[in-house]
Symmetry: D4
Subunit: 248 residues, 8 copies
């Protein structure tokens, strides 16, 4: 909770407009809605510039509908649900009939956010199989109002493909690199551009990728300095970090 | 086997009421029933205050029915079966028609236990997706006669939700924290309350949670002293530890 | 920060005794002392009943002396420093000439705390080599004012040694089991007593103990319900959990 | 290949009965049958006293039929197929109409072997869920001509169940302990009997059993000396080791 | 290699000023100096705004002197050497007598870089033991011309310490969180500020931190979106990522 | 990109036949075709002697058809698709009606390549269950124009089977060893032949093979010097390494 | 505790020779001696045929002397101490001046045990570097009264060395295979002999042996059935298992 | 043992020149020398073209001298000892006064082998810190009679350094890539050259390299097909594989 809000409430107390008990309660309850199974964080739009996002895994359709309803009532412009299957999509559609389902990336989106910046984020993949994760990042960025440059299938096994697209990548303010297998693309891109690089390992690969562990360790050990790593297959998190960087 | 029982039997031998051979046999066989595939532990109610609980995973419906029958015959007041699917539920219902199935938490319960204490256990989750595990703990506690305070979806990404509920949590004698992903809630709660904290990592999370390993290691390394950790997704074990603490 | 303090300060603001700005500052700074490299938590004694404990690993002697000084000035009755080597001991002695060094358990203690309870904590080890960790727990408990019953070297390879001591263990309100190798003692004790069991894996063992991992996993998977597990070799944490249980 | 056979062939060469080229070829090809996809080892019955066993995993029904045919033709008294599903059973039945399918343990057996010894092997499980693996061991032993004593569900959480059955176990020449979760039973049995103990970890358990890893490490680190460990869920291997011990 | 340089050289070839062979050679050799055991990258200052940094681990003093000489000759304003022991410091001093050794963080620095921005990077630690890694980040940032705000020892076990410093942190454009043990601080800070958060796990902790693995996994699984993770103990890499963010 | 091509283009620029801008573009775009979701690498046939191979995992049928079309248009003699299911096969057949599906090894192949060498590669398996991976290697080799000698089911549990086939293996120029379980065959073969040995661990095995990890580590630690290891179940990669060795 | 002893004491109680209280106490205390830090297990000689063995790791010289004294007083014929350094040796010599120190295997032995059997145990190593562990097994066997046949440095990289020694190995009743690196020797020997095979992985090897993990997994996954695995570097445990086999 | 030798001996038997017993003995003992603690493999020079190499780790100086003596007596032209410390060097010098010690790579070499081929092996490193391992490979190759091209410190963080040296690398028949950290160099080189690539991960790197695991997994998952991986830091093994490739 930021200090300004705290001071404001305290000043209300000083001026007598707010009783101490009310103030204490306010501090706790103003900013989220209790649905028993969820405390929907309405304060997040203030803190981050975008409403809370629904992570669908492990939630029942009934719960998703209720959360979507709570969010859409307060912030009826844009909504994102991640890791959504078809049932989760239907659960959101109960509230927002215009919801769109992006099957490969398992996102549900509603509404639009106009771009708040002209800076662009490059979303780069090593292979075609990494695109599902990359799209989770790219669509999220668009929803957050960030322009995106997609550069797909430029893995290091055919370096000329990367170099042929370097121009496009080098113009961007932030570069998200999505790669499975050995994840070497993050290091190579990190050595070629000066923008911050966000690396997303994917679970694509033969046996010893161990579900993305190989790419994860590879990216954490990148010989190119200045690479920040996200969780395996977490395109959403990478997009949010890029958004933080452009919003700061 | 506790010493008192041992002494009693020995005194019976001394007094001639029990022959040595009988005594030896008694020591071995009195306290459980042999069903070939299971040795149902009827002594457990004496040792722990509650009958043996049926762990359904890897047991056939036929075996579950037989064990339930053996338990219910000796202790016809309350029965718990964990990790139960629909078939296991039906297997218990063969014996106890009033059995209730808690689908999300995969528990079958029969009967009730009146509360033996006024002390309350808080069951706290980081997210909505952790509720299935939390309910395994909460329902088990109720079955064991322990009052429960549920506080769900107060993860550290929106700290004000936790602080708004701190009051409720701080009144409890034991706090069970159920969290997936990075499991940070256990440390934060551990730093805010003085009651014993029981941490249950869940398998909820993106790739590098490695089935709950991330939250497990996180909780074991809690910077807040005095946190006891249970197995991944083991809400039942956490409830039992809380019960031991209140029963001691 | 507990609600009572919050309300008190807010009431001060309401009554005009405290200005909002002062209040905000008070909330932040009252309760700890900033030494640049450390924020000594003077609020902890209120929260937990015992002052902050100095974890010496990674701290310079100079830092330890300064922290000890800050703590001893505010709470001149008892002080604990953990993971202390000889230099750390000397660093504490600069401030507290009566400090005592417990070499095997690497603790430095100053002063005494009278027992606040008659309930006793059993500290049980599987082997002689586990005693260093057990003593970290036992001495910490004594410092916290908790009576201790030591039962050492009763591992399951010679079960009669455990059964011969069961009496002593069963009388205690909490049982701390310290074991390396396969850590089976935690499960066996957990099956024999009804008190809460706190399990501490140790790093004692041949190659495939992998620094205590074997005992750790073993204890987390205990077939006896109601065992809470602490970090490898963390006798201090186990003591603190026992203290929380007895203090609740 | 044993030296006697080598010497015999060499003497044949010396005496002129066998040409060097024939000898070299004989050494290579006499003892197995080449089915393109399999080299059925007919020499194994000589080496080990029992024909090669068919490990069905990864083999097509056609391949299983062909191997069964090759084995049954040479050794038409007894046959074992492990890790068999229903299709594998049918594939064996094409050759041996009397084949029996043991569903829980996934074994197919044909024929019988009269007991070659009066020594008995105890097969002991911690829980009911471990019985499938235990039966793989017990049925294999019977097929190999070894008497079996089954003692199931005597895990250490209720130690009196184990002690009540100790008599039966202690009479056996070899003890196979099958346990999941923390696998403590192996250590406890190892401390109570003087016979060789063969420990089989199972994949039964909550999350942090990591597919049997917890029990495996536990058994490898047993504080009771003289425990030999087999692969996770490998009841067959344990039976074979017991057989080697009794056959030596 | 960026496109502009490529085009320039190609235009030189077109205009006849450069022969094709020269061009090809130029492309390869202009930008680094071959010392046999090292190819010092003089192009890096152009690409990144700062000369190559010497990673001392595994390099002999002789090699370090030669590399430092090569770098200082071309860019005689500022130089950084990381993971330096005393010998490495002496090796740099052979070339740059004004070199400074930062023992705790194992950095050698020479010269100064004036701040290129008024934006500030917060470097926050959970404990005092994490300061060595934090200083690697803070000193590197200063060398790169970035203002730093240090906030040390504000781990979540005493949340009021963090909240009391939130003001200072929230004013910064980028936040680097350095934490060992369970690394929860990254998630909590990530939920409280809107700036990009760079998380650095440290190897500080008891046994089951497994050399920083616990904090690493924790940070990768942060429930607060938008956290980029660096390698264990890699304060330098975190600083460089912050620098990329501010330089973009 | 090889130097010759670079020089040629540069000479074109020098002679005025190519403008610098054209040259830069040429360098980037000549050698692959952009399908949005894939950059098909037409340069690979020049670099490696065989067109790009389609890795089907994670690609939609539509994508596979488009890539197959792009490849077959440029190189209408031979095509390989790996990790193909039935849908992927149909997707290739849309373009190449003569495509053949190898179900066990999950390969789709089109066309033929005449053998370019008389040297032979031995493909050796430990068991029958390893054949699927071995066939991925063997069929790939045939497609690449390399003669193959298959030697299947000669694992070390029946060493005479291996020795009986040693002749055939020892005549080959390269030996690929495919083995699951403990992977010992790679070491034994490595000690018996002087040709280079390529080891492919498979995921065949009981629980503690951990998906091929046991065989992988075993092969990496081979006591026979000169064994190169490929990824788990990666028969294709082994074939390609053999091809590189024979093509060099 | 075996049943006979139990019955005897109970009969004493029945006959009045022993009071119940005495009996209970007897059961607990008769069989071990409490040294505060150790409960020396004097019952072990009865149970296993050999006195308790001192595991020196983590024990102080003072403790070792006391335990040695307690053991030697009761069983003054033979004594073994494992994992002993020079100080531990001196600690034993205080009690037994004739103690012998076996430096490579870190054993201290006192006295002799005449062979109780003519059956022999083969101790086989893959390399010279595995001999330290092998000697721990071989010397322990000798102390236990078991004849030993040493066959060292016959790893599979030079299979003829193994085959040249097969004769000697095949004559033995039990075979202990000690191997590091990939541990393939266990499987190869297991396929060549019919005796029970005890496999001991060692920590000898390059990086990816991960302290013996590679050999451990290899041995657990042996394709030769009937191999029992011991802990890494645990020659002592292997010897004890062999002893159990021969004693049964 | 190769078939030719077998046939020869068999023919000797046929002709009466050799008795069967002699033959059997010859087969076993001719080809190695038994030093009790080592079976020196004199047959290896025939099988591989170079005498056995002494792996010094875990061998005493006395053992090394004896093995060196045995080898040098039979093959007095060239000798290699790996993983040698100063004592091992002295142990070899007892036998071969001309021995040379290569400290960084821990090799001892004696004598020379003239080049048997004009084909060259490139030894390429990512960084300067990888050179110790690279030199183990390069010096071993020279000893085996293979010309070497060293290309050091061309990691992907500065891709122009690699491209500037590509010419030299592309001319070689085999490429050994030695890299720590994320090991991306192997994939990039694998995509740029058509020769077989042998990848050697090194243990160089920050915390999450986990002793070379990151580079190892990275190389095993290389997106460039046809990369064979060796053990961590095993330059010797890589050299031997290259030698096998050139010798085939």
């Amino acid at each position: 909770m930021d200090k300004n809000t705290l001071l404001e409430i305290l000043k209300g107390v000083e001026g007598g407009a707010i009783s101490p008990d009310e103030a204490a309660s306010k501090l706790s309850t103003l900013s989220y809605e209790n649905l028993e199974f969820a405390n929907v964080d309405h304060h997040r739009a203030l803190r981050t510039g975008f409403p809370e996002v629904i992570y669908c895994e492990g939630k029942s359709p009934h719960q998703i509908t209720a959360i979507a309803n709570s969010l859409w009532t307060k912030s009826p412009t844009a909504l994102i649900a991640t890791r959504a299957n078809k049932d989760a999509f239907d659960a959101v559609r109960n509230v927002c009939p215009n919801a769109v389902y992006h099957q490969a990336s398992r996102l549900v989106t509603v509404g639009e956010t106009p771009a708040f910046t002209e800076e662009t984020v490059a979303v780069v993949t090593a292979g075609t199989a990494d695109i599902a994760v990359a799209e989770e990042a790219a669509i999220t960025l668009t929803m957050l109002g960030v322009p995106v440059e997609r550069v797909y299938d430029v893995g290091v096994a055919g370096l000329h493909r990367l170099i042929g697209n370097l121009d496009k990548i080098a113009k961007c303010s932030v570069v998200i690199v999505v790669a499975g297998m050995e994840g070497a693309l993050a290091s190579v891109v990190g050595g070629l551009v000066s923008a911050p690089v966000i690396a997303v390992p994917t679970s694509i690969g033969y046996g010893a990728s161990f579900g993305g562990l190989a790419a994860l360790l590879s990216m954490l050990n990148s010989c190119a300095s200045g690479v920040g790593v996200c969780n395996i297959d977490n395109g959403f998190g990478a997009a949010w970090l890029a958004y933080r960087i452009l919003k700061k």
